[in-house]
């Protein structure tokens, strides 16, 4: 046995067995202990390397005025982000105001229905640091330095002040893996802010910066420059998170739906810090489907009664 361990072929055999064991453990969801140990050891090294790299980058980037310019650009970018978000929020508030007016009118017209209020979401105040990106260009994941011990759970949305980043897909003791919205297996229910047309945002993966919004209704449902927000349908993400802006609309006469290329509002290639929305609980659709249907009276935008009517 010892001879086998000492020989090269024996060692290769052991490594192959380790790989097979790893495959089985990940498949059964028990690889977490190994990953916890790995990230426990390497997270401080990664943090140190990131700090050192940033320091060296700044040193070589070097002259003082260049750094000042960088700071100014950063500040202006933050101002632009804030203004964009304010603009989005303002328009959303206008839209919400109109909807609430319609709902109020609906409630007054239907006094027998029991209507419920809205949900308020809170963001995690502790920023999570991005420790690394996936070594493969085939998938789009990041690893952050907050995990189970910090009450991060699978399914929690991850954002930056500029917009949606992705969703927690795997959690360890002090780390979590986040599937970015640019990953091919990511789907987000979305809405065009101006027209309220709904569709699904999917990642294109393999290093593509843009997202694609599919299943938009034909017609003038979307145009270049439109802002895309999360719709909140399916319960995986909260409503009204900024996803991005439409770059190009693809619509052919033979298509049943319109598709649009969307530029994410967040630079997903240069993430340093992100926020995890801890208090948002994703809805399990499978549970919903089997639950006893409640007498829902909450109107949606497509319901005739919820259509905003001129009240002035």
């Amino acid at each position: 046995m010892l001879d086998l361990l000492r020989s090269r072929s024996g060692f290769v055999l052991i490594l192959i067995m380790l790989v097979v064991l790893g495959i089985v453990l990940r498949f059964t969801g028990n690889l977490g202990i190994v990953e916890d140990a790995t990230f426990g050891i390497f997270a401080p090294v990664q943090t140190l390397l990131i700090d050192a790299t940033n320091g060296v980058t700044n040193l070589f980037g070097g002259f003082r005025n260049v750094n000042e310019l960088r700071a100014q650009v950063k500040q202006l970018q933050e101002q632009l982000n804030t203004s964009t978000l304010d603009s989005v929020r303002l328009r959303e508030l206008e839209s919400e105001n109109a909807e609430l007016r319609a709902q109020l009118e609906y409630k007054q017209q239907n006094p027998d229905y029991l209507l419920t209020g809205a949900t308020v979401l809170e963001e995690n105040e502790n920023r999570a640091r991005v420790l690394g990106q996936d070594p493969s260009a085939l998938v789009n994941f990041i690893i952050i330095d907050q995990g189970r011990e910090e009450e991060v759970a699978v399914g929690m949305p991850v954002i930056t002040p500029a917009g949606l980043v992705g969703r927690v897909s795997e959690v360890g003791a002090h780390w979590a893996r986040v599937r970015l919205i640019s990953d091919t297996s990511s789907s987000v229910n979305a809405v065009v802010q101006d027209t309220r047309a709904t569709g699904i945002i999917q990642g294109q993966g393999q290093g593509s910066d843009s997202l694609i919004m599919r299943f938009l209704p034909l017609g003038d449902s979307v145009k270049a420059g439109d802002v895309i927000l999360t719709s909140g349908i399916s319960g995986a993400f909260p409503k009204r998170l900024v996803i991005g802006q439409v770059m190009q609309v693809n619509q052919r006469a033979t298509d049943m739906f319109t598709a649009a290329l969307v530029r994410p509002s967040v630079d997903l290639q240069r993430l340093e810090y992100v926020l995890v929305m801890k208090k948002f609980t994703p809805t399990d659709i499978t549970t919903e489907a089997t639950a006893t249907p409640a007498p829902t009276a909450t109107p949606t935008r497509r319901a005739p009664a919820a259509t905003p009517t001129p009240t002035q």
């Binding site: 000492r6 090269r8 060692f11 290769v12 490594l15 192959i16 380790l18 790989v19 097979v20 790893g22 495959i23 453990l25 990940r26 498949f27 690889l31 190994v34 990953e35 790995t38 390497f42 090294v45 990664q46 390397l49 990131i50 790299t53 940033n54 980058t57 420790l131 690394g132 990106q133 996936d134 070594p135 493969s136 260009a137 085939l138 998938v139 994941f141 690893i143 897909s169 795997e170 893996r177 599937r179 091919t184 297996s185 294109q204 993966g205 393999q206 290093g207 593509s208 290639q269 240069r270």
Partner: protein, 165 residues
């Protein structure tokens, strides 16, 4: 080379690939340091060690990756084996050997991994992936290989007299 040195080295390269490379080169086209290390060591040193380095380094990358476990370990192990085989059949002093090897190895690994992922149900936009990721990465790896080759040849000179396995 002692496993007590190889394991930290492979871990460090995996950390550098997932942490430093994205900061220095944001975007999908980044040098595949582990692949360069495995191919380079296979060409420089041979003796079957690149196969071990490929498997070992691949396991570290698999731990850092969201891809199915084993994707990196198996592909890098196979490439390490090929690099070992090349070393026994060619003169390692010829610089063109590592350059040609890393070019072909990058194409093989990236396309092989994409094919495996597609088999597992992932969507691959082949034209985009090949022209925007695979080919630029292969060129970048080839351009950086002389540096890696130089480092590995120096390392080889240091460790060769004290070979254990």
């Amino acid at each position: 080379m002692s496993p007590y040195l190889v394991v930290p080295l492979l871990a460090l390269v995996a950390v550098a690939q997932t942490t430093l490379a994205p900061i220095l080169l944001p975007g999908p086209v980044r040098p595949d340091l582990m692949l360069m290390l495995v191919v380079g060591w296979g060409v420089v040193h041979g003796s079957g060690q690149a196969t071990l380095w490929g498997f070992g380094g691949g396991i570290f990358l698999d731990l850092f990756s969201g891809t199915p476990f084993g994707l990196h370990a198996l592909s890098l192990g196979a490439i390490g084996f090929l690099a070992d085989t090349l070393q026994t059949n060619f003169f390692r002093s010829n610089i063109l050997i590592p350059l040609a090897t890393i070019l072909v190895a990058t194409l093989m690994v990236d396309i092989g991994q994409a094919a495996a992922m597609q088999t597992l149900g992932y969507t691959i936009n082949w034209a985009f992936y090949i022209f925007n990721v695979v080919i630029p990465t292969a060129i970048l790896n080839t351009a950086l290989m002389p540096l890696m080759y130089w480092v590995l040849r120096r390392l080889d000179r240091v460790v060769r007299p004290r070979l254990t396995w």
